[in-house]
């Protein structure tokens, strides 16, 4: 079947019941979405489907044909990081970093919907995602920083 991942069409030869995570990691060799629980309980596997955060570990590809799937790799690169990536680097918002791509994708979905989300809204939005290292304060700081980067860029474009 065909999957649209990061603005590219991919022919995927996999059982339609296969959760998206295994296709992303195994077939498309994308590293960012992580296996954390396989149960939809931790958020390490979070990607965007039509702009909404989705647990890719429990979402079969059968449901995804014709939809726009975005992973962290689709936002930017080490050389040209997206605002959310730049913000996480500048905030040094990681310890082991294993949960971080899922955190970033969930945050990205919020910033796309509401770039001006306040601190309480950001915290509530991140509730499904777990971090074990205790990087929460930095993750929050990084998301606020990403908002600032986005706003500054928009002002620059407007000016």
């Amino acid at each position: 079947m065909k999957l649209n991942v990061n603005n590219a069409q991919h022919d995927v030869d996999a059982d339609p019941r296969t959760p998206l995570l295994y296709v992303l990691r195994g077939d498309l060799k994308l590293n960012a979405a992580k296996f954390g629980c396989g149960l939809g309980q931790c958020g390490a596997c979070t990607v965007l489907v039509n702009g909404e955060p989705v647990f890719s570990c429990v979402t079969p590809i059968a449901l995804l044909e014709g939809k726009e799937i975005t992973t962290l790799e689709g936002l930017g690169t080490e050389e040209k990081p997206a605002p959310i990536q730049q913000a996480f680097i500048e905030s040094q918002a990681a310890q082991c970093g294993y949960c971080i791509p899922g955190m970033m994708m969930r945050a990205q979905a919020l910033l796309q919907k509401n770039p001006h989300a306040g601190d309480a809204e950001i915290r509530a939005w991140l509730e499904p995602n777990l971090c074990r290292c205790g990087s929460h304060m930095r993750i929050l700081r990084a998301i606020h920083r990403a908002q600032h980067i986005i706003r500054t860029a928009q002002r620059g474009e407007a000016g």
Binding site: T18, G38, L39, T71, F88, M104, R123, R132, G134, H136
Partner: protein, 753 residues
């Protein structure tokens, strides 16, 4: 084999430059946290600094290529604590090289020194100290070489940005100066270290070198490693400890798509499959087909204190300096308990192994490549030099999680499929159900206060299992214990003080005139246990610092003032005072004040980790909801003295993380089991901190000590954070909670709303 090829070719390049292929001291590294005196037994010259004791050749640590590229080698592993960056800072500083010129190679039995485990907040003390001295001595050798070429005295030469500069301005790049074998020399006990006033890279917030790949989908973890031809292994673990595989009808599973092989050896059962989701499905089918005989009997999880008190104990006197208490002394007593606690890594353990040309290579996120290599070699009945373990990052481990076991699993599957790399990925349920937990513990303490409100006598007993069942021995690996020819579970040993295991930090740092501290070491382990971040220090500091608040209250003294009355170490006093001042401890504006359905409270705690490593004091505010009993940390302020700070942001990151992780252990966590099986095997049955409980603010103040030894800080916050939270809850509610975790249910039951 692109990845493997890369690694080997880099090695070849290195081997051809400025250094010989090196050999390491065969001295076995002491068990985790054994006393620093556990050094080589050979008649050696004066002791070398840090891990130079184990690997005394300079080129075991630093190599310089002809093109000026510099490689730093460490036997420690990057666990997300930022050790790569911190060690590079140390090396760049003492070499006087540009930070960007340097690369680092971490724990690999084929390439780096044996530095034992990356544990116990030892990396900066052991590896950082070794690299600091090795780098300084390499610099001196390069200076001498340049001086000879320039025909001047070495004292007249200076160094800067990877070059030696002669008085006439001529520059000699390090790459031009280095020659074969030049760095293959033994380190000296003393080095010419830079004046801390000249530091360019220490005490600087250098961005971590590992973060960019982690936030852009780079290959950052062993989970991301996909060598060509890799197959996917999944293990079917027994349903309970000691269960025996009675029978398994594999016929249907063998016909499933992608299945290459079912591996059965005794009660070790696994399947190797072409694609990953096929492997998940085959594992599920195989698990359903397996018939087990369960015989295990687990203790009553609701009566752990009684269990600990009944288990046969080996008594270890930690401190025995008791004097008769004054006749009129006021005495109080208390008992503290904690349950089994999970490491709870977000990424379940994973490993890749390949058996090729009689050499077994294992990519693993173990904390100790050498001890894991030894365990795997023994289990596989292979010579050690035919097994190579390469550290590759995993999810944060916080101690001995499933990493070593997964490496053992992968090794067994690689043998079943010679030539092909096999990746083993544990499930969430396997990680939470089979990892070795932090042991349940109990503390009983009583103390006497004299007329002046000072502690006159202190009597403390801690009950605990061992806190390290790590490899070395094959039997430390789960798989080895279930093979047809099983390896026995190794005998547990207490880790001796001054570092200690269950008794770590049981020796109060406070000046008490009369003290008795007893460690009742419990060899029998009804639940699988091993090292969890800070070992016994978490529980001992929770108990001591909770009890210090109880004593302060009995003496009618402010808790911070009470601690200062018993502290004479000036660094300890400064950390305590700094945390209190920065927090605004004297103000406590909302103490006992009912808010909107909540009561606020303030708590303070302090410890010096192991009484040897970093000093850490934490003040915090909590709110306790009347209706739900839910406690939430509102804000926290920490002060830390890690000696010479290398990367202040790295230290802050560690302390922030320690506060939040320890708060999660303290408020929520408890491994659950019925009479046979572990039943807390996912995030619904083992809840941990979520964002709704994250504090509004947190500050970490670092007291830098230029030129003083590095003091490990990775675990320094665990104990103080627990006690600060407990003390704040007591302050908010008027009730003292001595049994962990301090759940909403327990608080609600006590405050009786």
């Amino acid at each position: 084999m692109s990845e493997i090829g890369t690694i080997l070719s880099r090695r070849a390049v290195l081997a051809g430059s400025g250094a010989l292929i090196f050999s390491f001291s065969s001295t076995a590294w002491a068990q985790e946290n054994a006393a620093p005196a556990a050094a080589p037994t050979s008649a050696a010259p004066p002791p070398l600094p840090g891990s130079l004791k184990q690997a005394p050749f300079l080129d075991s640590w630093i190599r310089v290529d002809a093109d000026g590229a510099i490689t730093v080698f460490t036997g420690k592993a990057e666990l997300g604590q930022g050790i790569k960056t911190a060690l590079l800072q140390v090396a760049a500083e003492q070499l006087d090289a540009n930070f960007d010129q340097l690369k680092i190679v971490t724990a690999d039995t084929g390439r780096t020194a044996n530095e034992g485990y990356t544990a116990g907040s030892h990396s900066m003390q052991d590896s950082g100290t070794a690299i600091m001295h090795a780098a300084a001595q390499v610099r001196q050798l390069l200076v001498a070489q340049a001086a000879q070429r320039a025909g001047v005295q070495p004292e007249q030469m200076t160094t800067d940005s990877g070059a030696v500069i002669a008085p006439d301005g001529r520059r000699f790049g390090y790459g031009d100066l280095v020659a074969s074998e030049m760095l293959h020399v033994r380190a000296s006990p003393q080095s010419k270290l830079k004046d801390p006033a000249q530091y360019k890279y220490l005490n600087r917030r250098i961005p971590r070198v590992d973060i960019p790949a982690k936030v852009t989908g780079g290959e950052a973890y062993v989970q991301d490693f996909r060598p060509d031809g890799m197959a996917h292994g999944r293990i079917v673990r027994p349903p309970s400890y000691g269960a025996v595989l009675d029978s398994v009808d594999t016929a249907a599973v063998e016909k499933m798509p992608g299945v290459i092989k079912i591996v059965r050896d005794g009660s070790f059962l696994a399947v190797v499959v072409e694609r990953e989701f096929q492997a998940v499905e085959a594992m599920r089918a195989l698990a359903a087909a397996a018939r087990w005989q369960e015989s295990g009997k687990l203790p009553d999880m609701t009566a752990l204190p009684a269990l600990l008190a009944e288990l046969p104990a080996q008594d270890i006197k930690v401190i025995d300096q008791q004097q008769p208490a004054p006749a009129n002394a006021k005495t109080i007593a208390a008992t503290f308990t904690r349950p089994y606690v999970s490491h709870g890594s977000i990424g379940p353990s994973c490993a890749v192994a390949q058996l090729k040309d009689d050499v077994l290579t294992v990519w693993t996120h173990t904390q100790g490549v050498y001890p894991d290599r030894d365990a795997i070699a023994e289990m596989m009945r292979m010579p050690k030099d035919k097994v190579r373990c390469i550290h590759s990052q995993g999810s944060g481990c916080y101690g001995h999680n499933g990493a070593d076991d997964a490496a053992g699993d992968a090794a067994l599957l690689a043998r079943a499929l010679p030539g092909r790399p096999v990746r083993v990925q544990w499930t969430r349920e396997q990680e939470l159900g089979w990892e070795p937990y932090g042991p349940a513990m109990m503390v009983k303490v009583n103390a006497a206060l004299d007329d002046s409100g000072k502690v006159a006598d202190w009597d403390y007993t801690v009950w605990s299992n061992t806190h390290s069942m790590r490899p070395g021995p094959a039997g430390a690996l789960i798989a080895a214990r279930y093979l047809a020819e099983p390896f026995p579970e190794p005998k547990p040993f207490p880790i001796p003080m001054p570092e200690g295991g269950g008794d770590r930090n049981s020796n109060p740092i406070y000046k008490f005139p009369s003290m008795k501290v007893l460690h009742r070491f419990l060899p029998a382990m009804p639940i699988r246990v091993s090292a969890l971040r800070s070992l016994g220090a978490y529980m001992n500091i929770f108990s001591i610092e909770s009890f210090m608040d109880e004593l302060a209250a009995a003496a009618g003294t402010d808790p911070v003032e009470f601690r200062l009355k018993h502290l004479d170490d000036p660094r300890a006093r400064e950390v305590v005072s700094t945390a209190a001042e920065r927090f605004g401890w004297s103000a406590k504006p909302r103490a006992g004040m009912p808010g909107h359905g909540s009561n606020y409270g303030y708590g303070f705690a302090f410890a010096r980790y192991k009484n040897l490593a970093a000093y850490c004091a934490i003040a915090c505010e909590v709110e306790v909801n009347h209706e739900t009993g839910r406690a939430r940390m509102v804000r926290a302020v920490a002060a830390v003295d890690s000696g010479q700070a290398v990367n202040p942001d790295g230290i802050a990151n560690q302390i922030e993380g320690a506060i939040l992780q320890s708060m999660s252990w303290t408020l929520y966590e408890n491994v659950s089991f019925d009479d046979r099986r572990i039943i807390s095997v996912d995030w619904a049955t083992y809840p941990i901190l979520r964002f709704s409980a994250v504090p509004d603010s947190m500050e970490v103040h670092i007291i830098n000590r230029p030129g003083l030894p590095f003091l490990g800080s990775g675990e320094a916050g665990q104990g103080p954070a627990a006690a600060a939270v407990a003390n704040a809850i007591a302050n908010a509610t008027g009730y003292r909670f001595r049994d962990l975790p301090i759940t909403a249910e327990r608080i609600k039951a006590a405050i009786g709303v």
